[in-house]
Symmetry: C2
Subunit: 382 residues, 2 copies
């Protein structure tokens, strides 16, 4: 298997971007990534998008996007894994380069969520249609159940959840691409309206438009395109049951653990080696569960991590320095690539005010549904 590197990145601002369509968003991010590497040709494009069909009436996303950037002809593939679509796109592109089939592959993610679709209903199609969605439950409800189970098992409190939001907004306030680039106070979070008990509005990620793209090539070619490439050392993809009720412990995200183990094994590292991480905080409770499942903290200890500063900038293992899904925004198909971009910048010293000093090894974890799919990548600055 060939070694693979990321050599450039491009990303739109995340937010309610009324002036930009699905294809506009993709093109902005893709062309920025191509320009940064001074590249005007590609062998292949892999695009993550959860549901162009339901959100904006557009399937066949691969060729559409190739055409939109003037590259009709190039190979193009669309992958979907709900909110993990971006991370799975990165993995698919990685395997294409690793196999030797392609040398220059753009891995991108995009979603246009604010064009009038019933967003909560569309997102609910990522749950089990027969066992969950049909009966009316949506994702705030599913994650509220995860939160309740975590509270019961570990004594987690509403305030523990709120601290995750406070920390991630503090990070996001330093990110000019973030949808909500501003700090929030603990009491604001605790007083925000209840969405699905115990999850309050400020513990939930927003509805967003946006796109992100990274350019991959064999590591041995990387210096042609940048002085500071970042190597993809490991990839891990795993699944769990679709329905939350089918899991032994709803507060433990087994697909996250399994995807992490696979990525660590391939990378030849362990959780203790990770110096900066982006994890899937679609709801505050998700960040707590994810850092536990990835072994970044002990099982049951995740509830303390944000409050004590362990996972804050300046802490032992900064998590979601980008602001996370919570503050940066969550255009679902784009999220996994945006996470990879944050780690890419951190490992090449390009994260500006959010820079984790001396970070050399980092991780991005992207999740679909209530944890039925999870994909982890381990990166190293070279």
């Amino acid at each position: 298997m060939r070694e693979v590197a990321i050599v450039s990145a491009g990303m739109t601002r995340f937010g309610e971007l009324w002036e930009s369509s699905l294809r506009d968003l993709f093109a902005e991010a893709a062309l920025e990534a191509l320009a940064a590497a001074k590249v005007d040709r590609l062998d292949s494009i892999v695009v993550g998008c959860m549901s162009g069909g339901q959100f904006v009436g557009q399937e066949h996303i691969g060729p559409l996007m190739a055409d939109q950037i003037g590259m009709a002809g190039v190979a193009a593939t669309h992958v979907e894994s709900a909110c993990a679509s971006g991370g799975v796109a990165l993995r698919t592109a990685f395997l294409e380069v690793a196999s030797g089939a392609s040398d220059l592959v753009l891995a991108a993610g995009v979603e246009k969520m604010t064009d009038g679709a019933d967003v909560t209903a569309v997102l609910a199609t990522a749950a089990d249609q027969e066992l969950e969605a049909f009966h009316g439950i949506t994702f705030p409800g599913l994650y509220a159940m995860i939160a309740r189970a975590h509270m019961q098992a570990n004594g987690t409190t509403e305030e523990d959840l709120a601290w995750v939001a406070v920390k991630n907004h503090r990070h996001g306030a330093l990110n000019p691409k973030a949808q909500f680039a501003r700090e929030v106070k603990l009491e604001e979070v605790m007083k925000s309206s209840m969405v699905s008990d115990p999850l309050r509005l400020l513990c939930c990620s927003p509805v967003s438009d946006g796109a992100a793209a990274v350019l991959l090539c064999p590591l041995e070619h990387a210096k042609r395109y940048t002085d500071h490439p970042v190597k993809i050392r490991g990839t891990g993809l795993a699944t769990s049951t679709m329905a939350l009720a089918d899991r032994k412990d709803p507060a433990f995200l087994d697909a996250v653990q399994l995807s992490g183990e696979r990525a660590y094994k391939m990378a030849g590292v362990g959780p203790a080696d990770i110096q900066v991480a982006e994890v899937h905080d679609c709801f505050a409770i998700a960040e707590i569960c994810c850092i536990e499942a990835l072994g970044l903290v002990e099982k049951g200890a995740g509830r303390h991590a944000a409050r004590t500063g362990l996972t804050a900038l300046g802490g032992k293992i900064p998590v979601n320095t980008s602001g996370g899904l919570k503050s940066k925004g969550h255009p679902v198909g784009a999220t996994g690539i945006a996470q990879a971009i944050e780690i890419f910048e951190q490992l090449r010293g390009g994260a500006g005010a959010r820079q984790v000093k001396g970070a050399r090894i980092g991780l991005a974890q992207n999740m679909g549904g209530s944890g039925a799919s999870s994909v982890v990548h381990v990166f190293e600055g070279v």
Copy 2:
């Protein structure tokens, strides 16, 4: 890059399968493929499906299907390229095995189209939403324009189109899995109702439910699972403009040509080496255009191929021995895998009454939209 083989296959009957849901269809095909190879574990699943979201309110197809066959945990990826989703799933699975990342990968395709969705409107989301679908054109209209352009350039007649249907139904009559396993007469086709001038009902593929799956592994492991593996010698994926009107010649499918050239090059063969082929006959005119673009006949000569028997069973280069999309049915996400299965069986001597004697090298070509994406695989019996 590792060499890759198909070692087993499974497939539902194609048709209006009222008793089976999306997940039921997948499981039937997947479990048949696993049983045939006596395998009870997988490293990864790649599923092609055009639009679970729009057809049956279900996204997140990868983990759902892993869960449905009792394999929650395994890596699972869903790919979409409209009606080429199955072919792109095969390619994605091929690259995963070729890379060395996985040893046992199930490549599957599935679609459930008869559950009440407005099928023509859903399929139209594979066209360009802004330049085509928004203005009301659907695929029968787009292919009718391709047919008119082909008629104007080459003198193609309605009867030439009808002969494609007659030939493919003659083949499909020998296929117990086909949706319309019966012959049709030329005059029946010519008298069938006009769908979109010059395309009559019997020149259009039907609306179908179905699933298909093949098991891939490194060629060097193949004999563990079967005495008659089939090697994947080449894969080629290409795109064209999304909108038909943006192409220089609407009657020439340039993505089909390009995907074919890429697959031939990788396989080290040319069109003259192909002994049996499945091509994407969603409408009769598509088969004519595809065999021309793939170089199986001269440009402009495609119109004669079915009538003269060149592409019939017993002819020089039998095309769509399965019955094609026309007679076998076209559950869009499943089609590309079903095509691969027909060639798999032909190259291992398992095609029964449809067997092409002594076939050693074959090809499958699967297309999305009005030809905005096309994927070709070249296979060899070993």
